[in-house]
Assembly symmetry: C2
């Protein structure tokens, strides 16, 4: 049995290691042959045998973890009839690198192995020529399905549904259903229910397989079917559908059009992928990465992925710098301020990131409503106020010991408290404002909150110090 | 039908809004009655009727989004026979607040509605008295199952498996299986396969329901069962099991002991929850939040959750401040340095966070091996080098225009490049070192990388400036 226990788990890792060792060896031989200008005719049989033992999902994982040259070497050794499956499993970035290495003929051969809904997943990355040739090779029904799937946005149910529908009428007995099912060679994956439709394909309910097995064969479908199933429309938001799958523990669900006609099916496997992608994308977005980046993406690709937010950060850092510039007279008189100011800014940034991360996550789970915003804000402000007083006092005392000025310590405590309050306020308001303007609250939230707590922190701290100096409370030289 | 389309989706949101309005009204009346010292006997019938129409998972969501007083009001109106189900659906933090409001008698009544594996989920949060009373009320088999479930760590398969096993022998025909199944009133949730065991309960294979339905009833189980299923051991890592579910598209899977004896079952619903929790926890941990925090957690609880990392951040910020202190002579001579230094530190922090987020995510997906570390590091260093040269030059030119010193611009460019290289190096090394020492690479990674890029950035920039001043290249006054 394929045990996922320690021993067997190691053996999968072992197989991965063996394959990687082989790949490095081939790669080295190839380079050497090139240098010595001798022809290179490697024998890939061993590698190919090892690959055949692996599940497509495992090969996809292996491809993700390889640098480009070894990845393409491995890709050449994969049997062509598995190309399609593997292309579906890898991430967008890796898929692009693999497709770039295939000629049109190979891509078309791989794509022909796929169902129409899988083909639709691949379609955006295929060249127009390839896509046209593929479409012309499909029969009318498949072509319509493909065009339907392509007509929806990536984040709509219509783009994720499949067309493998098993349907029955409600006026037959379970015995008839059982006999009908035995005529099939295979069922659609994840069949936990059979769809019940009328003669016009309008959905009347679902017959859970469970009911089919538990009940007497003489009973009618209409007596045991569930006539209140969770159904989706093709233009529903896919992420909301995934949440419904999670919430109601669904395995598969029917997709119907406006007239309640059954047109497709959603399954849990697509939804699990979506849930993982959504939370991951959120994490990457918060850090200012535009999209999923394969770890061996080219340097150029990585640069493009990261530049936008770095550039924005550069502008915000420059603004913070100008805020400091406003107070250069003050700093000249008391250099200690230059050393202390990053503490105020830094703690504010950390605290603001804690708040904004919590809010962004709560928003993804639909826990935040206009009704509870005020209470939420009050709680976050309370937390920040206590943090500011406590940690601000700690650092205030330290500042006193270091620079021998009580008033400098008090300025420090005040500034910390005010900046933490600012960070709480903005940590709640920024994501809410972004949602109001129809934007994703996760995107670059970390960069933005840091920008505000930096500039704000410098302004509050240096401003207070200038004020105190004006009153002669702070010493003019350190 | 329960459509998740716009219209119906609104209606769920509408129902939520109506309930929240009712709750606020009751809450107000209660406060008023208290102030006027008149007895408060509210009629909760309307609220209770609305709640009965909701799925337990939806009530759980509603509880998550409510402030404490309204949450407890709602909780009192939930029918007691649903308490157990709802307690299982809510997050740990909310569950704690609900349990705190229940007396032992109520908790025991709620817990008795649950299966042993569900009871085990709840057990860590119950008082010893309650737990003992519950255990003594169980029959021997249930008690053994509960104790078995409690003997595993939260992140082991043993803690997540359930004990609802449907098993058959392999020497019977499918017809016999079909008749056997009809004797049940209900199947375990997510039954997509029946386990095939011998007389000593040793697992011999699984019979997918699909095979049961597709094949002729006269065929023997042994002819169509799969004898190479994915199986788990109770001490397997739960997150790895979840990855296997995702990878191999499983709905349910058997759990066996060392002797291959069937002892339990894992199902996709638990795994989906785990996948979501794992990625979310990673995001929260990176930002320096210790654990999942319910948005209306008490201020005190929030403080405890955030203090650890704020305190660490305070120390790192203090170190950064001392680094600046080393150069106060230099800053005194050229105050412009104080204004420019946060730019160097800030960009380094942003870039380091981009790198570390990508690495932490790749590690969670097992994409990083010792074999590819070097190439990964080289790629990250290249990206940072280009970013440093490009953005460093931009800001160098700006510094020249602002302060009229070419050499200050060059110091700026050099320092930015070096700090970005440092951020790339540390962004790769920190998570790897943490994994080496058996720690979770996500925890506080953002705080740590920022600490290094802050102190490092100040040291590099001010150090270079001091050096340039020593050579008389930088002007001594701004």
């Amino acid at each position: 049995m394929t045990e996922i226990e320690t021993k067997q788990q190691e053996s999968l890792q072992d197989r991965f290691d063996q394959i990687q060792t082989l790949l490095r060896q081939y790669s080295k031989e190839k380079t050497q042959a090139k240098e010595e200008q001798i022809p290179f005719h490697p024998d890939y049989t061993e590698l190919q045998k090892k690959l055949e033992e692996l599940h497509s999902a495992d090969i996809a994982d292996l491809l993700e973890a390889l640098p480009l040259d070894e990845r393409l070497l491995l890709w050449q050794c994969v049997k062509s009839d598995r190309d399609g499956d593997i292309l579906l499993e890898v991430s967008d970035a890796v898929r692009e690198s693999l497709l770039a290495d295939m000629d049109d003929h190979e891509i078309i051969a791989a794509a022909k192995e796929l169902d129409t809904d899988e083909l639709a997943d691949l379609a955006p990355e295929l060249s127009n020529d390839v896509l046209q040739e593929l479409i012309s090779s499909l029969d009318t029904q498949d072509r319509e399905q493909l065009q339907s799937a392509l007509s929806y946005e990536e984040d709509q149910v219509g783009a994720l549904m499949d067309f493998e529908i098993l349907s029955i009428r409600d006026d037959v007995t379970l015995e008839v259903v059982l006999r009908y099912l035995r005529r099939f060679k295979e069922f659609p994956d994840h069949t936990d229910k059979i769809f019940v439709v009328d003669s016009a394909s309008v959905l009347k309910g679902v017959l859970p397989i469970k009911q089919l097995l538990l009940n007497d064969p003489d009973i009618l479908v209409s007596d045991v079917m569930s006539d209140d199933p969770v159904v989706f429309n093709p233009d529903n938001d896919a992420y909301e559908a995934a949440q419904a799958f999670e919430r109601y523990d669904l395995i598969s669900a029917p997709v119907v059009d406006k007239n309640n006609k059954l047109i497709g099916r959603l399954t849990i496997d697509e939804m699990v992928d979506l849930i993982r992608e959504e939370t991951e994308t959120e994490m990457l977005n918060m850090a200012g990465l535009r999209e999923d980046e394969d770890i061996f993406a080219s340097v150029w690709r990585s640069l493009r992925n990261r530049w936008a937010w770095l550039a924005i950060n550069l502008i915000t850092a420059f603004i913070a710098s100008r805020v400091i510039g406003l107070f250069d007279g003050t700093i000249e008189k008391l250099v200690a301020l230059a050393a202390l100011m990053p503490i105020v800014a830094g703690i504010g940034g950390n605290s603001g990131n804690q708040t904004i991360t919590m809010i962004v996550r709560a928003m993804a789970l639909d826990q935040i409503t206009t009704a509870n915003t005020f209470r939420l804000l009050r709680k976050e402000l309370s937390v920040s106020f206590i943090n500011g007083i406590v940690w601000g006092s700690v650092i205030g005392v330290v500042a006193y010991y270091l620079y021998g000025s009580w008033s400098l310590g008090i300025v420090m405590t005040l500034a910390m408290t005010l900046n933490l309050l600012l960070s709480a306020l903005m940590g709640v308001i920024i994501p809410m404002a972004m949602v109001k303007f129809g934007r994703d609250p996760a995107i670059g939230s970390s960069v933005m909150i840091t920008a505000i707590t930096d500039s704000g922190g410098f302004f509050i701290f240096l401003g207070l110090a200038t004020l105190f100096m004006g009153f002669g409370i702070l010493p003019a030289t350190s």
